[in-house]
Amino acid sequence: MPSVQLVIITYRDIFHWSARKRENIESGADEKSALVRLSEADLKGLGIVDGAEVMLSNDAGSVIVRAELDPDCPQGLGYMPVSRYSNELISYGINEAKLPNFKRIEVSVEPTGGEVKKGRKRQSSRKGTTDKIQPLHVYQMLPGTDCKVCGCGTCMAYAFALIGREKVLADCPDLQKEEFKESLEFLQGYFGEIAGEVAETGLLIDKEKCFGCGDCAIVCKKAITSLVHSGSVVQRDDVPPVLEIINGVVEITNWGSCKRTMNPPEYCRLCEDKCTSGALEIVR
């Protein structure tokens, strides 16, 4: 049985925290907490795939958690959310440290051969440029027959329509065939089971990813007061905010204030740029 030595770094996860408050004790939070994020090299070293079960053990105890691929994680390290799982591995008083080793836990990892569970990756550690899918990338996965059954002139147009959430994956008959199974699975993973409906605004909000930090709302509030019109700045006062944090997540409250609705429109993308969780996406 292959085994790998790792140093685990624990981190706070807000979704795990709020799930604990929402769903009684740990039951609902388990899925979010019973995981360790590893590098590709370590996954290979263990001979397992993304989503496989692994056992972490050291002198303090052992736990069985799901291994998840994290492209940002260097070899030899593992990231784990602070939870009752990570607590099983923490020791105190073994070395002469003043504090328990909450942040640097040495463990050995072994695959258990259990069921592989691959969830939709909701909690990437940060938004990266790779997270956002590009039309050409979608196009490469489409049949490329330009059959027009979906109502678009070409498959490239359909790729744009998919990203703009104007069409759904089910609109393409060829994509449902066996030979495109892999593409369909990938696209379903990205767009979700129901390839989303998006409001007229073209602003897509993934409420499960949003922290409610309000960064988008505050930068928008600072930006909407000045408009650039043919080289000169026009000040607008008393504009109601476009975005507000309602019930813990961002919501569009006054779309009319957005610079994108002006005539001529100003294609501002500040809210999307400043959103670190990747919850906010301007799709068209």
Binding site: V7, I9, Y11, R12, D13, I14, F15, W17, S18, K21, R22, N24, I25, E26, A60, G61, D72, C73, L77, Y79, V82, R84, N87, I90, S91, Y92, G93, A97, K98, L99, P100, N101, F102, K103, R104, S125, R126, K127, G128, C210, F211, G212, C213, G214, D215, A217, I218, V219, K222, A223, E244, I245, I246, N247, G248, V249, L270, K274, T276, S277
Partner: protein, 410 residues
């Protein structure tokens, strides 16, 4: 019903612009609160999550629970009073009084968290500032902290985005956001520059910064940090648990670095305190005993590492533990819970937690701030009056502790 303004007690940001709208008994709308804050406010309405008064998992009246607890505390030779980081300042005052009356040990989460840093600020070793002053800073540094998961509104309400000089276009920023971290996080994504270090390397980095200031260092990142700080007129360093644990709680090197840097520019340090009133507990204890935590009242006032909750539990010292506003069964190493198996625990908590499940007596309390009046201390040391969004009729930690204190001292 209209919008009620309240203070969120989800974390030590204590955001005071939260609006709650109720329709009958249900919460219809929560304004401005982040995921963390809104989930705690919503949980207030979630009956299965809330605990009643319990003795050994059996529901009892308040009087029975008070009688039982007073009996346990009075018969205890080495009581330990722990927590109160999620309680109001008023409740903390009663807790200290109770510990004094019982001659017991009192400690809180700060003994394995930000305690050392709060002490350094309290005794004037290192400079700090208020969150409103952060808006004048020229450099904001997060060291070992990821506020998006611990204090989600920190950047938008108090630091980077709330900064007066923050320009959304960002061509020539007057304020710089810097992170020192071991992994890529949401905070490091926005930071320019971001210094990525190896786990546990923080101590070495600080030594290199000190050496660089004396003109001897050879580390590139240490040189960059020093150059950056020297260029700026006012730098605020937000210290997260990443740095505290990397230094194993010994902040002398960090303090020396801050001291050295202070000679060249204005530096302020602020702990990214997790629990909403942990700093309040430290301040209150400091006022009354001269120490911030780890105090025993068995023989006057004595202080020492042996009175930390971790040491007490490890050595099986306490024979009765009163826990309020904390959940040690979730936050401590699991094997330490075994040491608590034969010790009667009295827990005061608004919600069912692993701690309340392991407790002999449980008091289901009101959620501080959401359901009760009181005062709490923000991470910068500012006292914030808490305004309840509604009154649930449940007793607060303060009221229960007062009843207990009356019963014990009778």
């Amino acid at each position: 019903m209209g919008l009620t303004k309240t203070v969120c007690t989800g974390c030590s940001c204590l955001c005071d612009d939260i609006g709650i709208e109720r329709e009958g008994q249900d919460i219809a709308r929560i304004e401005n609160a982040c995921v963390k804050g809104s989930s705690i406010i919503r949980a207030a309405d979630d009956i299965p999550l809330r605990v009643p008064y319990l003795i050994g998992k059996r529901e009892v009246t308040l009087e029975q629970a008070i009688d039982k607890t007073a009996g346990l505390l009075k018969n205890s030779k080495h009581p330990l009073i722990f927590g109160f980081d999620n309680s109001t300042l008023e409740a903390q005052a009663f807790a200290i009084e109770l510990a004094r009356a019982l001659g017991g040990v009192i400690d809180d989460c700060s003994s394995f968290c930000h305690g050392e840093l709060v002490l350094s600020i309290l005794n004037g070793t290192i400079p700090s500032c208020s969150l409103s002053e952060v808006k004048d800073a020229e450099m904001i540094m997060y060291w070992g902290a990821n506020p998006y998961h611990s204090h989600p509104r920190h950047l938008s309400k108090f630091s980077y985005y709330a900064h007066e000089k923050y320009n959304p276009a960002g061509w020539s920023p007057d304020v710089t956001l810097v992170s020192i971290e071991v992994r890529d996080t949401e905070t490091t994504f926005n930071s320019r520059p971001f210094f990525k270090i190896l786990p546990g390397e923080d101590g070495k980095l600080i030594s290199s910064i000190l050496a660089t200031m004396k003109g001897q260092g050879d580390r590139g990142d240490a040189k960059d940090i020093v150059d950056l700080i020297r260029q700026k007129g006012f730098c605020v360093i937000f210290v997260g648990l990443g740095l505290v644990y990397a230094l194993d709680g010994d902040l002398s090197l960090f303090n020396e670095m801050v001291h050295m840097l202070s000679k060249e520019t204005r530096i302020s340090v602020m702990p990214m305190v997790g629990h909403f009133n942990m700093r309040g507990f430290n301040h209150r204890m400091f006022q009354q005993t001269g120490y911030i935590n780890k105090v025993s009242f068995a023989n006057g006032v004595s202080h020492g590492p042996e009175f930390s909750m971790l040491e007490q539990v490890k050595n099986n010292d306490p024979d009765c533990i009163l826990i309020a506003g904390a959940d040690p069964f979730t936050s401590l190493p699991s094997h330490m819970a075994n040491n608590l198996k034969n010790v009667p625990i009295i827990a005061l908590d608004p919600f069912i937690t692993p701690t309340t499940q392991a407790s002999a007596v449980v008091f289901g309390t009101a959620i501080s701030g959401v359901e009760t009046w009181g005062t709490a201390m923000r991470m910068d040391g500012l006292e914030v009056p808490l305004v309840p969004a509604w009154e649930s009729g449940r007793l607060s930690d303060e009221q229960i502790l007062k009843l207990l204190l009356d019963e014990v001292t009778r």
